[in-house]
């Protein structure tokens, strides 16, 4: 998987998040402050611009640029968190021109770590971690099992989607939704939903 592959991923993320902007904002309206879709759309619109301004040469460069751009443009909770995720992905992949599924899975694990280090959320706290963590685990086991990237991505996306849906019955312990206490139950976490979309954008 080279820089073209990862560029395609990011372009697909941009497309998917823009389509789902209002959905994500609606999810955030229910248990947050009605800006998650707008935040990510603004961030990834800047990413598109940044990529066309200085097209990166390697997957690591690309993902670092994405991470930095998100940190510089999104704000809110999701900006630093997704920013760190992508920045860490870029850092882990280094300057290799080609990346294996193993490399990606390992990078994703460190990316997840950077998210939990920064946000201090554990699985079950009703955050994006509830989608990212199962996706990271699935990628790792798929890599261990020697699956083709296409299949691994499919499984990771499914795991993320499942993790996102599984936030519905949870009571939030982190982020804005935690202010609602028991009233956060019954709603899907917007960050988990966007994380699932980001994973669903991974096509071989």
């Amino acid at each position: 998987m080279d820089v073209t592959f990862f560029t395609a991923w990011i372009q697909e993320i941009i497309r998917v998040l823009s389509i789902n902007r209002d959905l994500l904002t609606r999810l955030d309206a229910a248990i947050g402050d009605a800006d998650h879709g707008t935040n990510l759309d603004r961030g990834f619109t800047s990413v598109r611009q940044a990529l066309s301004d200085t097209p990166p040469d390697t997957p690591g460069q690309l993902l670092t640029l994405v991470g930095n751009t998100l940190i510089r443009r999104v704000g809110g909770a999701s900006g630093p968190l997704y920013g760190s995720l992508f920045r860490q992905l870029g850092k882990s992949l280094g300057d290799a021109p080609e990346v294996s599924l193993d490399d990606l899975a390992a990078a994703f694990a460190t990316g997840l770590e950077s998210v939990t280090r920064l946000g201090k959320a554990a699985e079950g706290d009703k955050t994006m971690v509830d989608a990212l963590a199962p996706a990271a685990r699935t990628l790792s086991s798929a890599a261990r099992e020697g699956l083709k990237p296409g299949e691994a991505f499919g499984r990771a996306a499914a795991a993320a989607a499942e993790g996102a849906k599984a936030t519905i019955p949870l009571q939030a312990r982190k982020g804005r939704a935690s202010y609602l206490g028991p009233r956060s139950v019954g709603h899907e976490d917007p960050g988990a939903a966007s994380a699932a979309l980001i994973l669903s954008a991974l096509h071989p």
Binding site: A29, A30, I31, T38, R42, I71, G79, P80
Partner: protein, 330 residues
């Protein structure tokens, strides 16, 4: 949802353009989203920087000026500023004596200010921070995001601003800011939802006969819903929550704050009830503010913030301040 705006995308930029036009004593970088005192940096003076999502006006930009903030960095609507903004604001006002970041306790604000503080430290600036978390509606716990920062932010900015203006060192400004946080509590009640411009409609639906108790300042629903009641009863709900957390005693600084869509006549009615409640507990309103100071766009509702004064804090509160939205003594 009706808004007096040009475009949901340009709300913050357009408002900053207006702010700049209205207040010659401020400098505004609309692109970089930074508002600062025209006379900054003041060499040898500790600088105060705050910021947060927009939609809470006049907080924070309306409190930039003599005796209060040196700079503010307004994020998008209800979205904390990005680190670049905080760094740019800090750079612009750092007079060599260090910079105090006043941060409302929200996950996003905390993380973005933390990232900014790292960048500032790398650039050799001395940055300290104070975290405001006064909202008693939220349970405080190690395992959660903790209490929200709401109305007490104004108290911190005013009082720490006076400390800084008096020439005190960074550690002292930080200490006093922390003392204000420790002595302040808030509780908010919404009569209606606000509408985020980009979302295009009210954040939540609230029947004509109900209110939300324990709301924050981002249009989020509260802890519970309750029947609409009299100003007296609603004030009692808010004050019971405050009093239950930090018993009312002695001289108090009290703010009855509108959420943006509630007219002043109603806020004075609420203040009358709050003042009577406090008197009933044997405490005293020594200083007060009634008005729209820490808002949630066009939400109807109010919050009460109480701070236990002592002689030092009273004197600092009374010290001159000259900002667009808080001014006395000069």
């Amino acid at each position: 949802m009706k808004k007096l705006i040009n475009d949901a995308e340009s709300v913050v930029a357009d408002a900053l353009t207006g702010l700049a036009a209205a207040h010659p004593a401020l400098r505004v970088d609309v692109e970089a989203r930074v508002v600062w005192r025209a006379d900054a940096p003041r060499v040898g003076k500790v600088a105060l920087v705050s910021g947060g999502g927009s939609g809470h006006e006049p907080l924070h930009a309306g409190f930039v000026g003599y005796g209060m903030l040196d700079a503010a960095c307004p994020g998008e609507i209800f979205t904390s500023p990005v680190p670049d903004q905080v760094v740019a604001a800090t750079e612009r006002v750092d007079g060599g004596a260090g910079v105090l970041h006043v941060i409302k306790n929200y996950t996003g604000d905390v993380m973005n200010f933390e990232l900014a503080a790292e960048l500032c430290a790398q650039q050799g600036m001395a940055v300290a921070s104070v975290l405001v978390d006064d909202d008693v509606a939220v349970q405080d716990s190690l395992y959660t995001a903790g209490r929200r920062g709401t109305g007490a932010t104004l108290f911190v900015e005013k009082i720490a601003g006076a400390v800084a203006e008096a020439g005190a060192p960074l550690a002292e400004a930080t200490r006093v800011a922390g003392a204000v946080v420790a002595r302040s509590r808030s509780f908010g009640i919404a009569l209606t939802s606000c509408a985020v411009p980009a979302a295009g409609k009210p954040t939540f639906d609230l029947p004509e006969t109900e209110v939300e108790l324990g709301i924050g300042i981002h249009g989020e629903p509260g802890r519970t819903r309750a029947p609409l009641a009299s100003a007296r009863d609603l004030a009692a709900v808010a004050m019971d929550a405050v009093h239950g957390d930090l018993p009312l005693a002695g001289d108090l600084l009290v703010m009855v704050n509108g959420m943006g869509g509630t007219p002043l006549i109603e806020l004075y009615i609420a203040f009358a009830e709050v003042e009577a409640y406090i008197r009933g507990k044997g405490a005293r309103v020594a200083r007060s503010l009634v008005g729209n100071y820490v808002t949630s766009l066009d939400m109807q509702g109010f919050s009460v913030t109480v701070c236990q004064l002592d002689d030092e804090l009273t004197e600092l509160w009374d010290a001159p301040v000259q900002t667009p939205s808080l001014r006395w003594g000069r």
